[in-house]
Amino acid sequence: MAVPVAGQAAVARRVVLHLVLIVLALLWMLPVYALVLTALKSNSQVIAKPFWSAPERIAIWENAQAAWKRGRMGEFFINSVIYASVSGVGAVFFASMAAFVVARLRLRAGNLLFYLFMLGTFFPFQMYLVPLVKMAHAGGWYNTREGLMLVYIAIAIPFAVFVMRNYFVTIPQDLFDSAVVDGLSTFQIYTKIFLPLAKPALAVGIIFQFVWIWNDFLFGLVLTSSPKARPVATGLAFLAGYYTLDWATLAAGTLIASLPTVLVYVLLQRYFVRGILAGAIKG
């Protein structure tokens, strides 16, 4: 008799575990659910009926359009597409070159340089704000896309160096040496051999930086003053300041601002999580 009882207990425990997880997951999704439901409804319904009421009329298209045009989320969105892709790729490209040198340099200087780059991830962003604003005004790149693009590249480089260097050191030295014997220049070895081999690391780096830049608020806040250059998260924060009574539009705007990174996560989960783990190991 003892065995079936133990079996029943195990089944009961599994059922309880699943129940707990399901309840927790439902609770976890409440803020997202409430937001999506709000974005689906007309604002008059949002005001008049409780948030869980089913949409009387699907108004998400109007809401999204209002956020995109009137709320100017469209302009912010396009700015951030540029920042996240150009700066993300640019930072990883420059960082991979530096990481290649750092990883292949047989000198002590290689490690020293690497630690110098790592130091760049250590200072709170707050320390950059005052100087960057002054530099932006003095250099004429305040409130320009070009300026913000360069700042994002710079901020992203140290961590990208970290990811790339840790990948490059796993590539056997023999490969490098035999390429030298074959008469390839250092730059050729980098472009023809190491870069193609490093595709997974490049993917991790670019995806991680894309998400980080897409979600940045602080630099967009202090270095832009108009929709011309304002990134999407900063734009959304402004929208949240103006549209305090129009939750339907605001919810739609929030969805617009969040969709790209959520998609990146859903489609490229493996790389994304690897980037996070790499970041954790660094810390």
Binding site: P31, P50, A98, P124, K134, A233, L236, L250, V262
Partner: protein, 280 residues
């Protein structure tokens, strides 16, 4: 090949840090040349500023809240989802908030706490608990805790991912041996899993600690630090003093002060890490 990265690094990262230290000894409104040298006056002000003291206390509350609740919850969820049927589905749900920007999280939770017809108050009234409904973000101290829930919501998924990696790193033989010895459930956790996860707990704790010291976006969006500066943290005060009150020198000094806190906490975290290093 090093040159582009070093140029970016030098111009946008090294030079600003040095300039930030330099400018913290000046009284500067952000316009015109930096000429009004005031020595340590900005740092003296730092010590006597009531708003900054409250911000320091709030930051402390945030740090304590974030290194406890999301870390414990993340560990619990990791233990529950590990190997369960539908693991990928559950993991995705708990991790989803981490992929959304702080600003979007802030807007989402502002809607949760919206006083008139927001989510939390609507639910409370529906359940006949209307007496508990309140302006969550408008009451000092309450607003800090309300906003912490939003950040905890996001950090739990992060902690879960790290702890899942930690659980994967534990050799299965150890768990098999422990199970053969009759350990299961709570005892297995208490005597085997928890000690083996310690390096990961320290890691998550340290990362959460260092990032929470700088918490800014969520607060800026949800309360702007108000009402009456009640929910400001150091980073929010720094922003207000610099860009709203135009005391750039003082703002730079606050940022440097924040850096000193980060250094102290890093040293503390590294020491904890070494002390608790476990070996199988």
């Amino acid at each position: 090949m090093l040159l582009p990265a070093l140029a970016f690094f030098g111009y946008f990262l090294v030079y600003p840090i040095l300039f930030n230290i330099y400018v913290s000894f000046f009284d500067w409104s952000g316009l015109g040349p930096v000429t009004n040298f005031v020595g340590l006056r900005n740092y003296e002000r730092l010590l006597t500023d009531h708003n900054l003291r409250r911000a320091l206390f709030n930051t402390f509350l945030w740090v304590v809240g974030m290194v406890t609740v999301p870390v414990a919850l993340g560990m619990a969820i990791a233990l529950m989802v590990d190997g369960v049927r539908g693991e990928v589905f559950f993991k995705s749900i708990f991790f989803l908030p981490y992929t959304i920007s702080f600003v979007a999280i802030g807007v989402m939770w502002k809607w949760m706490y919206y006083p008139d017809y927001g989510v939390v108050n609507s639910i409370l009234r529906h359940l006949g608990l209307g007496g508990l409904a309140r302006a969550w973000l408008g009451i000092p101290r309450v607003n800090s805790f309300a906003m912490m829930a939003a950040l905890a919501w996001l950090l739990t998924g992060f902690a879960m991912v790290i702890f899942l990696a930690g659980l994967r790193s534990i050799p299965t033989e150890i768990i098999e041996a422990a199970t053969l010895d009759g350990l299961s459930g709570w005892k297995l956790f208490r005597h085997i899993l928890f000690p083996l996860l310690t390096p990961f707990t320290t890691l998550v704790g340290a990362m959460v600690l260092l990032n929470t010291l700088k918490v800014f976006d969520v607060i800026y969006v949800m309360t702007g630090g108000g009402p009456f500066f009640s929910s400001e943290t150091i980073a929010v005060t720094m922003y207000r003093e610099t860009f709203l009150t135009f005391r750039f020198g003082y703002g730079a000094a606050i940022a440097n002060f924040l850096f000193v806190l980060v250094v102290i906490c890093t040293i503390f975290a590294i020491r904890q890490g070494f002390k608790r290093e476990v070996k199988y």
